[in-house]
Amino acid sequence: MIEIGHFALVLAFALALVQSVVPLVGARRNDVRMMGVAAPAAITGFALTALAFVALLSAFAQSDFSVVNVWENSHSLKPMLFKITGAWGSHEGSMLLWVLILTFFGALVAAFGGNLPDTLKANVLAVQGFIGATFFLFILTTSNPFARIDPAPIEGRDLNPILQDIGLAVHPPMLYLGYVGFSVCFSFAVAALIEGRIDAAWARWVRPWTLAAWMFLTGGIAMGSYWAYYELGWGGFWFWDPVENASFMPWLAGTALLHSAVVMEKRSALKIWTLLLAILTFSLSLLGTFLVRSGVLTSVHAFATDPSRGVFILGILTLFIGGSLLLFALRAHSLTAGGLFHPISREGALVLNNLFLTTAAATVLIGTLYPLLMEAIAGSKISVGAPFFDMTFIPLVIPLLFAVPFGPLLAWKRGDLYGAAQRLAFAFGGALVVALLVLMMRERGSAFAAAGIGLAAWMMLGALTDLFVKAGIPRVSASTGLRRLTGLPRSMFGTALAHFGIGMTVLGIVSVAAFGTESIATMKKGDTLDVGGRHLRFDGLRPQTGPNFTAQTGTFVLDDGSTVESSKRFYPVRQMPTTEAGIKTLIFSQIYVQLGDETPDGGIVVHAWWKPLVTLIWLGGLVMMAGAAVSLSDRRLRVGAPSARRARSAATGSAGA
């Protein structure tokens, strides 16, 4: 089975080469048969990659330790779920997952791109095939997951215990669906440049892909953040770690792309910019892959001592980013500029959105790369950590978030800012009241908390206002309003949901930062610790045994008699300890308990946090995802090239993102 997988991967590589050349030539010669190669090649390529992936999965499921990758990352005692997820827990396996998802998207374009013009489809799939070919080559030459070991060891070395968690089952696949999903937008952009033409229909095809990729990336980042929160055990949810930034940059650029694609579709303006954004977004995904996969993050010197993988990915990076930007520079001027608009208009608002989001992405980029550049060029080591990002990123997003509710209320072409402000008066008043209430709180009410929570309330109320205004509420009767509300295009609900979700996330972040508390104490059985006004009684430690670990579990009793368990595990194979935080969710807030070292006198150090409204941070992410899903289900988006009548009715509607 393993050799079949290896063989399938080699075949997929060969097929990807065919897919990247034949349709491209066919599109230039206008040869329908050559162009027709693209779709079957893409679908077969996906099937072959899936076969390779299944081969690896089965090796993990069967604990076949004659495969190096399985031996290094699995153990026969591991629960079955973690055996399977372990398949993408290593570098090799995760790269295989990467190409699996890449070919999956290629196959989707091939299968559902029936309404695309022949040459565009051929070019898109050719570019997609070319990306695939380089990564197949990378896997086959530097990161082969199917390498054998002889003689086969009797037992595996186990997976890193931190990764033996349900998070590994969800986070990487979702993140990759997002990351790699942007490859489709990239391929569309490059195909448009090759063809030298781009129109509103192009944006219409690209938008659903952007939306889908953005949805998965949002979910992947939110899931990863929650995973780090409960697994790392110091209660943080975002660390501005380069690895996190690697996924956050494409998200920021992708969010900008999502919005500029709307302008392009509705008003055929910002064409060149949208194209550039599509290229940049996927370039940032590739850069993220390079940063994480090359080992350059640990140290520039570590990268220099074993550069084989790093140099290969750097080559891929240079090829695609450099190549696409060169193509852009050569061809962009031939694209015609689109519709005019006044600065105060929906388009203007979306341009503002793009300005801030791309600047934010650039800020994260420079903060992530600067230490590497300094080390490589000047040879001096500096750190760029959370304080830098807090000081630069947050001031950038505050005006953006404040402006969000205005955007959907402005008309296309020329908007009425005063009118929009009037409509938002209720939301603004509500947010002001909330902010004042926070300010007047007896304890810990601060200007920061008031402003932050006021901003969150403003975004959430603003999103609701948007829907109500569009339904004509309260000008029309309740029943008419309700009927109109349910009759609104789904993409409008999508916009409102996504904007509401950001408000939720902001509310969660500000609440934790402003009102979260933290207690540290050495506790013995029967001792009580005060956590954010609640009492935690320690009920003693007891030993536990898991399938491949041993644990010490502490039980804590809350005021209402419910219990929280927090444990420390030890995985003997890797000789690694982990902690399992005890988390008690109270509506949206959480109590987070972490065990420390035992003291010689029989006590144990306990660290407990009160995290008010903390779950909103991730629930907001889920709501954003839901917004994208609702928007994707909008029929007008699904129809690739609508009939003239439908196009007209779509143009008169004023859907948002």
Binding site: G224, W227, L232, S247, L340, A362, I366, I382, G385, P387
Partner: protein, 153 residues
């Protein structure tokens, strides 16, 4: 996938799965302790991957936390503590790089980009507006109002 690499690297640096600040380190004076926590959050644990000494439980981080608290109890100002630590460990220890000419590109990029972007967008908008068709004359406006039936309801 990206995150767990960080997890691995972070964990590799940890001696034991405890958390950072230990009860015996906490200063009696809450004001001083708050200052110590604040300073610790901005100082890098030198042997960890992108972790502050406040978050890390590596021995070196603990030593540094105790050092910060000693300096504070001795009466140093926040800046004096930072200068002291930087003098010993170099600028690498600061999670927030200094505002210096060396770091000018880092600190200036966000503002410069944003202002340049706004300036560009505004110039474009202005030139676009100049290309825009003339406004309607008052006669045309009146005629338009008539067609739209304004002023009759």
């Amino acid at each position: 996938m990206r995150r767990f690499l960080a997890l691995m690297l972070m964990l590799a640096a940890l001696a034991a799965p405890a958390f950072a600040v230990q009860p015996d380190e906490v200063l009696k004076d809450p004001v001083l302790e708050a200052r110590a926590r604040n300073l610790s959050a901005g100082l890098r644990c030198m042997v960890c991957q992108n972790q502050s000494i406040d978050d890390s439980n590596a021995d070196l981080a603990r030593d540094l936390r105790i050092l910060v608290r000693e300096r504070l109890t001795a009466g140093d100002s926040d800046q004096q503590v930072i200068d002291y630590v930087v003098a010993r460990y170099g600028e690498f220890v600061l999670l927030q790089p200094r505002f210096s000419w060396r770091n000018a590109i880092l600190w200036a990029t966000p503002a410069v980009l944003l202002l340049a972007g706004i300036a560009y967008a505004l110039t474009r908008a202005r030139s676009d507006m100049r290309r825009a068709p003339e406004k309607l004359t008052s006669e045309e406006e009146a005629r338009l109002d008539e067609i739209l039936g304004k002023g009759q309801n």
